[in-house]
């Protein structure tokens, strides 16, 4: 016996009705601003609300693609992201493996581990800024007292060291999140697999490679994606510590966008850089899903 027509319609429409509020929210809070941003990127001029006569089409994109500043910003963004994501994952993994082992005070150590993650971003950037201070900073004090250097070192003033210095701050802030998430994934690994590996005579490295890593790979992948997206849009730490300097050594895309929008008041140009940033973020996310999909497909 078939259901009445009205009931079938209701059943068909129900899912759409349920997701409608979320779609509306995403539309208003994400899609509309993005569309506006895309439209604004087609305008020149220096007004916050572009005038019709300032329409320049794709000229902003053309100029940006020829600009060495954008090339530098992209390069710095990639280096910054790679450094932050790589180090945060590595340190997070080491910490997670350490905290898996039972030792006295493990609970307290785990709690302390989360402190950097809980510290407000601006506060941590300012604290590190002071720690790097060549005159009164802790970092210089340690470098001098251990005999590594004899003079004060201005890390944030050095084109070679400024980027690693800001990367370190972000790594310090986000690695605890990675450690906590990975620790949860590690505890979910089937213990019998470790026993089997031991019976087969596998050492710690082989056990990690062939037992632990395959099991926590999905968690690792999603962490990599999250860290990458966070790093791609990181602004506050860098702005507070270097404002993109010295010699544009820390000038990531987010800093370029802010400078163009709120220092130079070239909103169209800023929106165009933002669109390029969004394209990169989207490509990273799509790349993740493609890889996941391939992994899930049954092999023949």
């Amino acid at each position: 016996m078939t259901k009445p027509l009205r009931s079938r319609w209701q059943a068909a429409l129900l899912p759409y009705g349920l997701i409608a509020p979320m779609l509306l929210l995403v539309g208003v809070l994400v899609l509309y601003p993005m569309t506006r941003g895309l439209l604004v990127s087609l305008y020149g001029g220096r007004d916050l609300v572009p005038k019709p006569e300032d329409f320049v089409g794709l000229a902003n994109y053309g100029a940006l693609l020829r600009s060495p500043e954008l090339a530098n910003a992209l390069e710095v963004t990639i280096l910054y992201t790679a450094g932050t994501v790589g180090l945060a994952l590595l340190i997070g993994m080491v910490c997670a493996l350490l905290f898996q082992v039972n030792f006295p005070g493990r609970g307290l150590a785990r709690a302390i581990l989360t402190v950097p993650w809980g510290t407000p971003l601006v506060a941590s950037a300012l604290i590190w800024y002071w720690m790097y201070d060549p005159q009164y900073g802790l970092v210089n004090y340690v470098l001098r007292t251990t005999g590594i250097t004899t003079a004060n070192v201005s890390l944030l003033l050095s084109p070679q060291w400024a980027l690693p210095a800001v990367v370190l701050v972000d790594v310090w802030r986000i690695f605890p999140f990675g450690a906590v998430v990975l620790l949860t994934a590690l505890t979910a690994v089937d213990r019998t697999l470790y026993d089997s590996a031991q019976v087969d005579g596998a050492g710690p490295i082989a056990t990690f490679r062939y037992v632990t890593l395959p099991d926590i790979r999905p968690t690792l992948a999603i962490l990599t994606l999250l860290f990458t997206i966070w790093s791609l849009k990181r602004f506050d730490t860098i702005w507070i510590m270097t404002q993109g300097g010295p010699s544009d050594a820390t000038n990531v895309l987010a800093v370029s966008i802010y400078r163009e929008a709120f220092r130079n008041f070239r909103i169209g140009n800023a929106a165009a850089i933002a669109m390029i940033g969004i394209t990169i973020s989207t490509a990273v996310t799509l790349g993740y899903f493609v890889l996941e999909r391939r992994r899930e497909l049954p092999t023949t």
Binding site: P134, L156, M241, F265
Partner: protein, 417 residues
């Protein structure tokens, strides 16, 4: 009286009362106070904020029907916040602007001419030259309240101990004295900003040294950041950097603190720093002398009070501006600063004689920090120039080559509107 006619009378009376109540600017209890918003970063500064609050309290006492609401935004975010509000059609009634912001607001058509709101001609003889900044195409767009200038601040005790009998008067003397005074890392001869995280503030110091060598950021409708004079200023800054006369990598808050702790001997700074230093260390033997150049040019940051287009209460805002100008002396005394009033300054200088050094120094072209003809493009000049000066300082790039690169970058940027 029938029930019907009574109803008619009551209805008529109610209609009359309603008309009175809704009459513009009236209420049944009399005129209600109008609230105007005064937007400035000064509210966030301890001394200036308190001085302004006292001034506002005195104004409200005289004009109880005008209340003033604090539009309080810290300086680093002031321009962008106001720009968003002005573009969005919700301006404050009184908008305070530093010179760069003023040009930024003016060229985008956000400021109202004051000529129809205020009779400024009565103050014409009392205004200082700085008031000219507010004039544009025969209209006045603001009232200059005060201006901040720079001088050479030095610690007399440290200079004497180093055998320096008088503050330096030329760049060469300055460098020699600063070298003598430097015993790094415990004591330095000089303190200055020199990194991009302090970009806005560093521009003042860089402009100061460049104008000392006769340099200008722009002239004849073109950027001139690679002129021989500008390059000479940059080279001198590099000489100071290499000589290690100032603590490297420290911000202005740190070296100013070192100055009042007597760990830095000289600063090229404004009168506010003089006041702060004295308040932090009353025993310091502090002297303010003209800048070490001939002529002893100085930068100036001018502060203007304006009324934006679309302000809700322009008349009341104008009433405040007029009253504020008449009471500038009280404000100047409270903040220990010179103001845009010859008569007020006489009294202020009598009370604070050290200010005469700041007042009597000749102003550099366009206040030193504003590229002539490109006033609204100052942030782009600042970024392009300082970025390349960093190359000179830390990468040892040749000063001329670096400034040529800055010039090329600017010429490219200025092609766009």
């Amino acid at each position: 009286m029938t029930r019907y006619s009574m109803l008619r009378w009551v209805s008529a009376l109610a209609a009359l009362l309603l008309c009175v109540a809704l009459w513009p600017g009236q209420s049944l209890k009399g005129a209600s106070p109008v609230e105007i918003e005064l937007a400035t970063w000064h509210w966030t500064e301890p001394e200036r904020g308190d001085a302004l609050r006292k001034i506002v309290a005195a104004f409200t006492k005289e004009f109880p029907n005008i209340k003033i609401k604090e539009g309080s935004i810290p300086y680093p975010r002031f321009e962008e916040t106001m720009m968003v509000r002005l573009a969005g059609g919700s301006p404050p009634d009184v908008l305070v602007a530093a010179d760069t912001m003023f040009f930024s607001f003016l060229t985008r058509g956000h400021l109202a001419p004051l000529n129809n709101l205020l009779n400024l001609s009565k103050y014409k003889g009392d205004f200082l030259q700085a008031q000219q900044v507010a004039e544009n195409k025969g209209q006045t767009y603001g009232v200059v309240s005060e201006y901040v200038t720079y001088a050479l601040l030095s610690n007399k005790r440290l200079l004497t101990e180093a055998g320096i009998t008088a503050p330096p008067t030329t760049p060469e003397e300055f460098l020699a004295a600063a070298k003598k005074l430097t015993k790094a890392p415990d004591q330095y001869g000089y303190g200055t900003r020199h990194s991009m995280d302090q970009e806005a503030g560093w521009w003042y110091e860089m402009s100061f040294w460049v104008e000392g060598f006769g340099g200008k950021w722009a002239a004849g409708g073109k950027p001139t950041v690679n002129s021989p004079e500008v390059v000479a200023g940059v080279k001198f800054f590099k000489q100071m950097y290499d000589a290690g006369i100032f603590p490297k990598g420290v911000d202005s808050a740190t070296y100013r603190r070192m100055f009042w702790q007597e760990k830095v001997a000289m600063l090229t700074d404004n009168q506010a720093v003089y006041v702060i230093t004295k308040s932090q260390n009353s025993k310091i033997d502090l002297q303010a002398t003209p800048t070490p150049f001939k002529p002893a040019l100085t930068n100036a940051e001018i502060v203007l009070y304006t009324i934006p287009k679309g302000a809700k209460h322009p008349k009341e805002a104008a009433t405040f501006l007029d009253w504020f100008y008449r009471h500038l002396k009280d404000y100047g005394v409270a903040v220990q600063n010179v103001v845009n009033s010859k008569s007020a300054n006489e009294a202020i200088l009598k009370q604070f004689p050290y200010l005469s050094t700041f007042v009597n120094s000749p102003l550099a072209d366009n206040g030193g920090i504003l590229p002539r003809g490109f006033e609204t493009r100052q942030p782009e000049f600042r970024n392009a120039v300082l970025k390349h000066v960093v190359d000179v300082l830390v990468k040892n790039t040749d000063a001329k080559a670096a400034m040529d690169a800055a010039q090329a970058e600017l010429e490219q940027k200025l092609k766009t509107k």
